[in-house]
């Protein structure tokens, strides 16, 4: 990373760390949800943006992660932090298993298969045979974790909302860092190669089948961990929380945020968290209409997503700076990496 970018990230992290002390608990809760959605969107972006496999049903993995956390905490008293690895592992497996047969399906047909997953999961969650586990239509309520006594005793002004925010922030940073390493390295290049030209990739020695299934698994794992965090934040899971619109919202999020972009996940999360509220404040009569108009507007104005616009802006700033440095002589811009 360039020194400038490093400084940028440090500033961002510092702001993220200080924000909860300046905002009300309600805002902290909203920001926690933004972080949760960002991790979920990163998962979907890996699969759809970087690897080209369309998923219209990622809400299902989010739901599986959420229910893992809820069932573990409610039925077996597992501490909240321990539910994350379990949710991740379960979803990794589920994603991989789903990805294997999905290898045979392309484009639209894969979209249908994932759509089917997204639609059926709430039905499955309501099924009476597993009701004693899932709570059926009534769902499961869980308690919000308290900040560890060690820190509150030390005098830090932490309450459950702030603690959960920091916990989520820590997990999100780790997940994003891991993803960045993955996507910038060999594996990331292989994924993009498969997306752009599967035949050439195979010819170059990339094991398409293995990478595609693994990508599905990892992508599901990310979204599953996000789901677990989301369940802990909201303190409630029910089949109604995970309808097909959640999956569609995730898709909207990665497109508006920016496909094949890590920062895009964050922009997309901000969009799907706050824009529906904006739509609601504009019109009570037809809030969805406003939401739809805003979605279309974002796609028009920023076809490469918010991340794409940011990238262009940064490129322009860099170009202007290098021009002024060399006294106005035109220099070709430095090529930017495809993978951000």
């Amino acid at each position: 990373m360039t020194p400038r970018a490093l400084v940028g990230v440090v500033v961002l992290l510092a702001a993220a760390a200080l924000l909860p002390f300046a905002l009300s608990d309600y805002r902290v809760f909203q920001l926690t949800l933004v972080l949760v959605y960002a991790t979920a969107l990163l998962g979907l972006n890996m699969l759809t943006g970087y690897n080209g496999q369309i998923s219209l049903g990622h809400g299902a993995f989010y739901a599986i992660g959420a229910y893992c956390a809820a069932i573990l905490m409610d039925k077996w008293g597992v501490p909240y932090w321990a539910t994350l690895p379990v949710a991740g592992a379960v979803c990794l497996l589920a994603g991989f298993l789903f990805g294997l047969p999905a290898l045979r399906l392309e484009g639209l047909y894969l979209a249908l298969a994932t759509f089917a997953l997204g639609i059926s999961l709430p039905q499955l969650l309501k099924y009476h045979l597993i009701e004693s586990w899932t709570g059926g239509v009534q769902g499961i309520t869980i308690l919000k974790p308290d900040p560890p006594a060690l820190l509150t005793d030390a005098g830090l002004p932490l309450n459950p909302d702030r603690w959960l925010y920091f916990f989520t922030l820590a997990v999100t940073i780790v997940m994003f860092a891991l993803a960045r390493n993955l996507l910038r390295g060999r594996i990331g290049r292989a994924m993009v190669a498969i997306r752009d030209n599967p035949v050439a990739a195979q010819a170059m020695g990339v094991n398409n089948a293995l990478y595609k299934s693994l990508t599905f698994g990892v992508s599901a794992m990310y979204t599953g961990v996000a789901g677990a965090l989301g369940a802990i934040a909201v303190q409630f899971v029910a089949p109604d929380s995970f309808g097909i619109f959640l999956s569609l919202a995730f898709l909207i999020g990665i497109v508006v945020g920016g496909l094949a972009s890590i920062s895009g996940a964050l922009y997309g999360a901000l969009f799907i968290q706050f824009v529906p509220n904006v739509a609601d404040s504009v019109s009570k009569a037809a809030p969805w209409a406003i939401f739809g108009i805003l979605i279309i507007a974002f796609v028009y104005l920023m076809p490469a997503g918010v991340a794409g616009v940011v990238r262009l802006a940064r490129a322009r700033i860099m170009r202007e700076e290098s021009q002024s440095e060399t006294g106005g002589a035109k220099q070709p811009g430095t090529p930017k990496e495809v993978v951000q």
């Binding site: 298969a113 039905q123 076809p303």
Partner: protein
């Protein structure tokens, strides 16, 4: 027991007819643009509301019907020109997201203008043919769907315009070179798909009652049916619709119960797709390396 099965099969054919008619609209839009329009159901619903409004003014059924189909056609063309044209060149996913936005807008606006109270929609088919297995309307709408299918087949196969449309969708560059106005072919495709959707909506509404959320569940089944039958094959889509209807009913009544019939039906369809990735009757694409 066998009587119950027969009954369920007929009920399944009736609902299958509903799925088939919307699936036909989906196939139409796919053939013209190689995109699946998620907003197709809401467009059909909106046109049906326009039809309903026309009927409220006292217009007769058939004049209102024809006028609605015409309005549907115009609506499709307008949407293509105004909403889709600017973002056609961006990625497929962006277009899909725009479709979702369109879906949200149409649904919300319909609810706002017409409220959510269900409205009955008249049927042009005489009640005198009533029998316990299938209502006259359900029979009639299956007939209408088959007629539309036949007309579409004839149009694409035997008219120059149909040929031009197929060419424009398959190979826009070459089509331009031979003088086909690709842009207008796309608009025409959208218009036709929307018109088919309007007919589908007016056939569906008397059965399920008209309300803004009328097409939500149907779109899902129609999507699955179209892919099951082969997204580029109108006959396949219609057959897929009937198969879906009957399958769903039989599963729900005799196999797995209504709780899971949707999940199981979808799993079965995905299973079929794994074996035949282009659908039951779709053309298999072989790309030479």
């Amino acid at each position: 027991m066998s009587e119950a099965i027969v009954h369920q099969v007929f009920a399944g054919l009736a609902t299958g007819g509903i799925y088939a008619s919307l699936a036909l609209a989906l196939v139409m839009i796919y053939q013209a643009t190689h995109l699946v329009n998620f907003a197709q159901g809401e467009m059909a619903m909106f046109c049906t509301y326009i039809g309903w409004s026309l009927l409220q003014t006292g217009l007769g059924y058939w004049p209102a019907f024809l006028l609605t189909v015409a309005v549907g056609f115009v609506l499709g063309v307008l949407i293509e020109r105004i909403v889709i044209r600017p973002i056609e060149r961006t990625s497929v996913l962006s277009v899909v997201v725009v479709f979702i936005g369109l879906l949200a807008i149409l649904n919300s606006v319909a609810g706002w203008i017409f409220t959510y109270t269900i409205k009955p929609f008249p049927s042009p088919f005489p009640e005198s043919l009533a029998n316990p297995l299938m209502s006259p309307h359900e029979l009639g709408s299956i007939l209408v769907t088959l007629v539309m299918l036949a007309l579409l087949y004839l149009f694409f196969r035997f008219t120059p315009l149909g040929l031009a449309m197929r060419a424009a969708a398959q190979n826009p560059e070459s089509s331009r070179l031979v003088g086909i106005r690709v842009g207008w072919m796309l608009a025409l495709g959208w218009g036709l798909a929307s018109a088919i959707g309007a007919v589908a909506g007016m056939m569906v509404a008397p059965v399920v009652y008209l309300d803004p959320n009328m097409m939500g569940g149907i779109l899902l089944y129609a999507f699955a049916a179209a892919l099951l039958g082969g997204i580029d094959n109108p006959l396949g889509a219609v057959l897929g619709g009937f198969i879906m209807g009957v399958l769903e009913n039989l599963l729900g009544a005799f196999v797995i119960g209504n709780d899971l019939k949707l999940a199981v039906a979808l799993v079965l369809i995905v299973g079929v797709l794994l074996v035949r990735p282009s659908g039951l009757f779709g053309t298999v694409h072989v790309s030479r390396v």
